[in-house]
Amino acid sequence: MSLAEPATLPVAASAAPRLHVVRRFSDRFKASLPAYLLLLPSLVFLALFTYGAMGRVFVDALYQRATPKAPVRFVGLDNISAVLADPYFTGAVVNNLVYAVGTAIPSIGLALLFALALARTSAVNSALRAALFLPVLIPMVAASALFLFIFLPNVGLLDYYIGRLLPVLPNWLGDSDIALYAIMVITIWKNAGYYMLFFLAGLQAVPEDVMEAAHLDGAGPFMRFRHIILPELKPTFLFVIVIATLNAVTQVDHVFVMTKGGPSNATNLVLFYIYQQAVEHYDIGKASAATLLTLAVLMGLTALSFRTMANREGGP
């Protein structure tokens, strides 16, 4: 989509002489020294609990035992290739892709719809905004426990109402064809209100005078939406798409609480696969290798999003 498009822009400014660059860098560093000092405490903790752990994962990913009692030995990239060859891993990746696309698009669509409908501030709209935001405030674990009851086969809320209409009652979490979609519904329900906030903020930035001018020129609501609001919301879209993708990889609380990746691995997502390798298989090497692969994708995504945002700010 539009994520990759601005990446072609940033070529023009890179021809300055080297010395100049170094001096500029050291000047800049001196100027920002107080900022670094201020950042130091959180940097220390980041190093301890984030980058330290990542370094450890990097090392662990290179070691493996041949048999249970054998000592761990250096195996290079064997763990990575073992993970890539594992059908459970590729299954989890496919599930995760379906899950990411299937949760990002509907929740962003809904969020935009909510934001457009509630853009004007009034007492009613504020109340509705609060109502739509409420799911965000419920912890994912609690929400999953609630949905466990809603999805209970035969006796749950959903079957109680829908059961009158359907010929056969679906076993929402126990049917391997439906379970992943059931999980996705929770994510959409929970995240749409959160993304709505970003779109509400984005809509505030749409210049009133441009809208007015368009209105006077005879542009209808759809024309204004298509040619003014949507282009103005582009940075918001980029940001929300990145957040939604990150969420799709990092939020697996509901999988943990509701299905444990089942039935028959139908709801197994990448992060839960890593958990299984580390805890159930007690295979730290493979778990670390899978973590590295996931980290690489996440960091790629983050870098991409920072670049597109930086381009936007410094752009023409």
Partner: protein, 439 residues
């Protein structure tokens, strides 16, 4: 200024965390305990440990709540890796073999001998069915603490309604199938009441497969050696085919994989007239059923047999001698007849110590709650819980396939062949080091 003050505070706090109580005093030990059923257990554990500390001034035990059985294994392993193992852990009974293979357990033989008793005498206190999961290679590695078996629960009111006599519960698969047919209610194609519900979610599903396979004469796994499972066998094929038939041929069991809590809710709400579930759910059913219910042995096809479930007390490897001794004192105290009986009444698990059932309080309790007696009687035919190298992944290979069968995506035979293949693959490294390591 602000930074330095905060820094000092931080250093002080870190110091306090790193060097707790250097002073001489009672031996401090930690007990990791999971709460697999409900929140009340945590309070009961607090009561129990307080009583222990009051009676043992030279030991200060602290009970640390560590989540589910799986979480408890994770946290124990993390503590062992960090070099600070807990002194005792209530560990899911079928994780012991895996931990022993990983050298994470203390062999308890020495502690038993130091007490001037023998292994046979020590183990003799407990129901024989529980010993299999506590003994590995003829050495004791765990002490049974609270245990369970699967039971058949029957909605007695609905049975009477259908013209069945709940005082004569079904004893064979044939009778159970017949009961389930009579207890299933339909409106056209739509089922409004299921005859029977059997749980299938990771963990429960494997346990139920072991139950059905055992009542069909089978074994599920090699009790003597952790490198073999018997998935692709006639006894398991019969078990899975019967389960599949209940769903797709007789249509008396809901399709798909249904987790334990959904099964018990279904039974309590009257949506399922019978269910197979752990004795651990007995208290829940007793407290919540608004109808008369009846519990019975799991019906047989070939023989009566059920696996045990529950947890044992273990001492992790790598402990100082004084902590090990203190932990052993705690473990013996917790598994003594009186405490065992008290814990059983508080939680609904049965007490592993046979003498617990001779204590006056327990005799009273059983007279008031005869259904609790059925669970104990079934122990006569109980056998160990499956435990292999990498128990959980090996179990999961079977569960994934059983779920496919229950969802109508595979036939029993091809499912079991696939499960056997995947399990053999997981067991390969262990076999390479044991059964296939030849001179």
């Amino acid at each position: 200024m602000l930074f330095t003050r905060r820094l000092m505070l931080g250093i002080a706090m870190a110091g306090a965390l790193a060097f707790p109580a250097l002073a001489e005093g009672p031996t401090e030990i930690d007990l990791f305990f999971p709460v697999p059923v409900d929140g009340k257990l945590a309070r009961d554990m607090g009561t129990l440990i307080k009583e222990f500390n009051d009676g043992h001034p030279d030991i200060k035990a602290t009970a640390v709540y560590t989540g589910s059985y799986d979480d408890t294994l994770i946290k124990t392993r993390a503590s062992i890796k960090a070099g600070k193992p807990p002194s005792a852990v209530i560990m899911s009974a079928n994780f012991l073999l895996d931990m022993q293979i990983e050298n994470e357990l203390t062999n308890l033989d020495g502690l038993i001998a130091a007490d001037g008793t023998t292994k046979e005498k020590f183990l003799g206190q407990f129901f024989p069915a529980l010993q299999g999961n506590a003994v590995i290679d003829r050495s004791v590695y765990g002490v049974p603490f609270h245990n369970s078996t699967p039971l058949l629960y029957i909605n007695a009111d609905k049975a009477k309604e259908a013209g069945l006599d709940p005082s004569k519960p079904p004893q064979t698969w044939a009778e159970l199938t017949d009961w389930a047919k009579k207890l299933t209610k339909r409106e056209g194609d739509k089922v409004t009441q299921w005859g029977i519900a059997i749980p299938c979610a990771y963990d429960y599903c494997g346990w139920m497969m072991e139950t059905l396979t055992m009542t069909n004469g089978g074994r599920y796994y090699n009790e003597e050696f952790g490198g073999e499972v018997y998935y692709d066998t006639p006894s398991m094929l019969g078990a899975l085919t019967w389960w599949n038939d209940l769903v797709y041929k007789h249509k008396v069991h809901a399709p798909g994989a249904t987790p334990g809590p959904a099964v018990s809710t279904s039974f309590i709400s009257g949506n399922a007239a019978m269910m197979m579930l752990s004795t651990g759910s007995l208290t829940y059913v007793r407290d919540n059923a608004k109808f008369n219910y009846k519990v019975a042995f799991i019906p047989r096809n070939v023989r009566n047999a059920v696996p045990i479930g529950g947890a044992s007390l273990i001492i992790p490897a790598g402990l100082e001698a004084d902590k090990q001794k203190a932990a052993w004192t705690l473990i013996k105290w917790m598994t003594s007849p009186e405490k065992s009986a008290w814990w059983s009444r508080a939680t609904g698990y049965f007490a592993p110590n046979m003498a617990a059932y001779k204590t006056p309080d327990m005799v009273d309790f059983l007279n008031k709650n005869p259904d609790a007696k059925t669970a104990v009687e079934q122990l006569d035919v109980a056998k160990p819980w499956f435990a292999t190298y990498k128990t959980v992944p090996v179990r999961k290979t079977l569960e994934d396939e059983v779920m496919l069968v229950l969802n109508g995506k595979k036939q029993p035979k091809e499912a079991l062949v696939a499960a056997q293949k995947a399990a053999d693959e997981t067991l390969k490294p262990y076999n390479a080091e044991t059964s296939l390591k030849l001179p």
